[in-house]
Amino acid sequence: MRRSTVLGSLNSSLHDALREDERVLVLGEDLLDPYGGAFKVTRGLSTAFPDRVLTTPISEAGFTGVAVGMAMRGLRPVVEIMFGDFLTLAADQLLNHAAKYAWMYASKVSVPLVVRAPMGGRRGYGPTHSQSIEKHFIGMPGLEVVAAHPFCEPGALLRSCIDDDRPTVFIENKLMYARALRLADGGRLGDLYIKQTGGDRPAHLLSYDPFVHADVTIAAYGGMAEMAVSAAERLLLDEEIVADVVLATDLSRAPIELLGDSLSRSGRLLTVEEGGATCGWGAELISQVSEHCFALLQAAPVRVCAREIPIANSRPLEEATLPQVDDIVGAALALTLPSERS
């Protein structure tokens, strides 16, 4: 599989992990070749590693719980939840089991578990197969939530989670799988300037300006990352507005360093996520920005999110429910109206 796409990067990473670490195994529904998983992230794995790729019954709670037990006994299981919406079926395992054991057993055990969950809509799958529900899992002590996007290397991000001793929910995005990776080279990606924080779960700051001037800071993650960058491009070309884009991979921690960096220039924060606004990732970001660098804000922060209704099957309804590039551009324009500018 081509490593230059999100799908290929993830698939290659799983092949590498299984080959290089005999403790790694992969569990989930319909993983076996020739089918190779609902979104083909696991294609080829069962052929290459038949003993360590376990196709499961339709039992998200059960096989996630089995994986928790395996992790506690020294294996490194990677669980695939076919649609991220089904993560709630395993919620008790994540909250009351995986996230608790290491701490409540005074670090006598660790739970090196990765639960991969493809989130997101725009494919017409309807109300129960299109959601982005990761916000419900952010903030559970002991559980890490990480999301891939095409401006990082998703396979490397996944591998760092597999190698980590903490239980991690790894958020993918269905529409993102076919996208080409957009990796910076020497701090540049085409006309974009890019800088990133260190560590396994870097945050990225992208701008069409060499970090001298910015009118607005757009924060996003996962499936909204490319839409945020597209919005920044349109804002520049059509409106001559410079938008910085801050992209997170670690959803358990706000990318406060890069937000502060960008807000010191822009003073205006726009958060973007495909899930609903209430108690969401953006709500947490705005809280933390208010706590850590309130003085940088020159206007009230704004959230661009899904409308808080179920996601319809029919395309016009789905499009009207989920945040689009137009919504980001519109919100950024409103936030940077001349009357609002300092």
């Binding site: 019954p57 709670a61 719980g65 037990g69 294996l75 089991h97 409540m104 057993y105 005074a106 006598k108």
Partner: protein, 318 residues
């Protein structure tokens, strides 16, 4: 695992006295431990709650004495008896219940959430059963030959994840023993209001070798489980076994609203009364004295331990 792995089978073999005396002595220790806990609660020395094992001691000694070093146990909210037979460490358990640094998990888990070597417990009904199946699968994949034992109650059979776990254990051939301790009451709810159908059929429906025993006789239960655990070791296949027993104490501290006559009638068949008449009264007296001495020593030791320091106990594990 950081701790030395207990070897219940070897420890039992090294004890003095007849087999029946040894089992009685272990049951007397559990009984005295639980009675002392209830006294400590009365005196407001303990916080939270405790789920006592009084009346079910024969199950712990009958099952867990067949385990060897490296075998894995996953217990539930009612875990004290299981732990005491597995590890024989009343001191560490009491220190945990008293919230002390130096308890089993430094006061983080308390009564229901303990870990020592290959022993674990959790307080949510059902979910831990899937964890135990995963542990059994891990031991199988690692080729250690270890057997895993997981304890459920009749009430836990109401949880869907139990059946997902049975299905997976059978499909994948997990070397695990499911022990259902049917004590007839799920907290305050009698079995007739919480359980439809038959218990043993639940295991059989998944192609798991299954059986049941109605007994509070430690010798009988011990003899019953020896061949079962040997067979799991040999075949690597799961087994599902129901023990019909009775809980003499309340579910959780002082919440017992069951009919007194029912409870008193069952007291006649409680494990110590079943085994006691077959033993020399002087031996019994000696075993109770020894149990009392050990629990008192554990308490003295635990009291001397410090309470956990919030400065050093609030970090997330890395």
């Amino acid at each position: 695992m950081s701790e030395t792995q207990p070897d219940p089978r070897a420890r039992l073999a090294a004890m003095s006295g007849t087999l029946e005396e040894r089992l009685y002595g272990q049951m007397a220790l559990i009984r005295r431990f639980e009675e002392r806990l209830l006294e400590l609660f009365e005196d407001n020395e303990l916080v939270g709650t405790t789920h006592c094992y009084i009346g079910q001691e024969a199950n712990a000694v009958g099952v867990l004495n067949h385990l060897a070093a490296g075998d894995v146990v996953f217990s539930n909210h009612r875990c004290h008896g299981h732990f005491l037979v597995y590890a024989d460490r009343a001191d560490l358990l009491l220190a945990e219940l008293m919230g002390r640094a130096g308890g089993l998990v430094d006061g983080r888990g308390g009564s229901q959430h303990i870990c020592f070597a290959d022993f674990h417990s959790n307080g949510v009904q059902g979910g831990l059963v899937s964890n135990a199946v995963g542990m059994a699968m891990a031991e199988k994949m690692k080729g250690t030959g270890a057997v895993t034992v997981v304890f459920l109650g009749d009430g836990t059979l109401g949880q869907g994840i139990v059946y997902e776990s049975l299905n997976l254990a059978s499909l994948w051939g997990a070397p695990i023993l499911f022990v259902v301790e049917d004590n007839e009451w799920a907290q305050s709810t009698p079995r007739r209001l919480e359980l439809a159908g038959d218990m043993v059929s639940r295991g059989r429906a998944f192609g798991i070798e299954s059986g049941e025993i109605t007994s509070t006789d430690a010798m009988e239960i011990y003899a019953h489980f020896g061949p079962i655990i040997d067979r799991i070791r040999t075949t690597g296949r799961p087994h599902f076994e129901v023990i019909h027993t009775y809980r003499l104490c309340h579910h959780s501290k002082s919440d017992d609203k069951r009919p007194r006559a029912e409870v008193e009638a069952r007291r006649e068949r409680e494990p110590l009364r079943v085994t006691g008449p077959r033993l020399n009264p002087e031996v019994i007296e000696g075993l109770h004295v020894e149990a009392g001495r050990r629990v008192a020593a554990a308490e003295t030791w635990a009291r001397a331990l410090p309470l956990p320091d919030p400065e050093t106990h609030l970090e997330a594990p890395q």
